[in-house]
Symmetry: C2
Subunit: 152 residues, 2 copies
């Protein structure tokens, strides 16, 4: 018997959400919020379905986690996401006081963490999470490539 992949680890949850988003015709990006080792919110991109330009996976997951904790601040919470966050999502991560950010694929075009404005390094950034990028990067990049290739 071979070991099955651990589908409960937070990045695997984020990947499952990314694949579910792709199946809905959304940009295939997924996110999970973790607190005390447990996933308390998970989401994929829902921008098209909801006709909501703010419904990126990170925003939907952060809103869900905040509603669950009944707090604007997700103290002690970590965010896992399959793509480097954009400026909107990086701003939300700072407002929510996310402790650690783990992302899979870097995004040289739209990313705002390790590319572009590098928001968490700006002197006016009021909260910067610890950042760990490049986790399962090639897997995330392959999902994005397949999705956008099929749309052409």
């Amino acid at each position: 018997m071979t070991a099955s992949p651990d589908t409960n680890d937070p990045m695997s949850v984020a990947f499952a959400e990314a694949r579910a988003a792709a199946a809905r015709g959304e940009a295939p990006i997924g996110a999970a919020v973790v607190r005390d080792g447990a996933v308390i919110a998970r989401a994929g991109n829902r921008a098209r379905e909801r006709a909501d330009p703010t419904a990126h996976a990170e925003i939907v997951a952060i809103r869900e986690a905040a509603a669950r904790l009944q707090s604007e601040r997700l103290v002690g919470c970590d965010l896992y996401v399959t793509l480097e966050p954009c400026a909107m999502c990086a701003g939300a991560i700072a407002h929510a006081r996310i402790r650690r950010l783990y992302y899979a694929a870097p995004d040289a075009k739209g990313g705002a963490v390790d590319h572009g404005p590098r928001l968490f390094g700006q002197p006016t950034c009021h909260h910067a999470p610890e950042v760990y990028g490049g986790i399962r990067e090639s897997e995330a990049a392959a999902i994005l490539r397949a999705f956008f290739a099929a749309k052409r």
Copy 2:
């Protein structure tokens, strides 16, 4: 008979929303989205009430306008807001394809349009609205000062 102030102009609507937010104990910031000369969405900050770190006035108004138009993209829409938008809101403005941004008070600490990362001037910014800042600046600044002075 003296002329009454025009309460239907979009910046006055944003100011009314800012004052209503203050009355609810929220940071006093208001926003309005305009299309074809009509206000199609208006909102104040709701972050505390909704326990939602993303519920800034701009985000709430953009989501409402997008829901109303059933479109992620607010083509031809203008946004009026009483404070220079932060990185999260500036990112949402770009995603929503807002045509023109009018803001009242500049925000040297948290603003991301004419301060800090100056997002719309970043090479990776995919959409930049026309920006008009400083409209009724002193009035907006006074509302913010009064609110934060009362909280101390």
